[in-house]
Amino acid sequence: MHAAVVVFPGSNCDLDAYYVLKDLLGIETTLLWYRERDLSEYDLILLPGGFAYGDYLRAGAIARFAPVVQALPEYIEKQRGLVLGICNGFQVLTEAGLLPGALAPNINRRFICKSVKLRVENAYTPFTQLCREGELLELPIAHGEGRYIASEETIERLKRNRQILFRYYEENPNGSLESIAGIMDETGTVFGMMPHPERNCERLLGLGEGLKIFQALAQALTPGPSPVITHGRGVAQAG
């Protein structure tokens, strides 16, 4: 498996994600400059956290025009691999229309950095297959624009298709609709989440629960029989 961590001008969690993939999991990983258009090499495209283009205007608003993001629809269409957007990466994916909805400024109008509890809502995806449904994970958040908003129909569709993978548990830190913390697209290959799994992958930094997400990805992308790879219509089926 070959992973790419995209580097936008202003990305600042790129090296953190790289460290988890490369050093903790031993996955071949490339830091991919945002001007790159050819994604055919990579099984995983990870859009990291940070402030691409300073988050000026709106988080992700400018980054969505980056060549690498422009190449994503084809990558997804072809089912070439998985796409994971963390925090700013999630914002870029929604701005680019690759995930539904939008991420608005937190309801308290301030940046929030703290540890939050997440509930796993769907464990039958390549991103969550190592979790149990209903399991609680504790992961850090660090964002100013994380309030998930979408139209009623969109929310209904997300629920129906089981595209909501994580919800904030007990406390909804940013005012997201339905306490949504992470959603998947309809193909089941694109996933965006506001919390930072890469910041809790070792016992030194917490309980290390974030690693499960990366291990799940790796498992799904490693050749060989894997019952839970749910490309295409697999998502609804699995539910």
């Binding site: 608005a104 309801i107 908003i149 005012g175």
Partner: protein, 84 residues
Amino acid sequence: MKEFTVRVLIEPKPELLDPQGQAVERAIKDLGLAHISQTRVGKLVKFKLKAVSLPQARERVSEIAHKLLANPVIERYSVEVEEL
């Protein structure tokens, strides 16, 4: 080529919660400054643009606003273009 001054006004869609607008409204009331309602806080983007005609300038600006300046999921916008 003519030059135009452009203002794009962006605001949160009316049906959506606007915490910033709420906070501003509360502050204005708390200060006893005035009785106001329906406060919304949005963005203003101003720039100068070169184009051959007003219609062309308008079209350009709409495209910019639609593609970049506003997020149609949560915002709406209006455009004001004036020849210099």
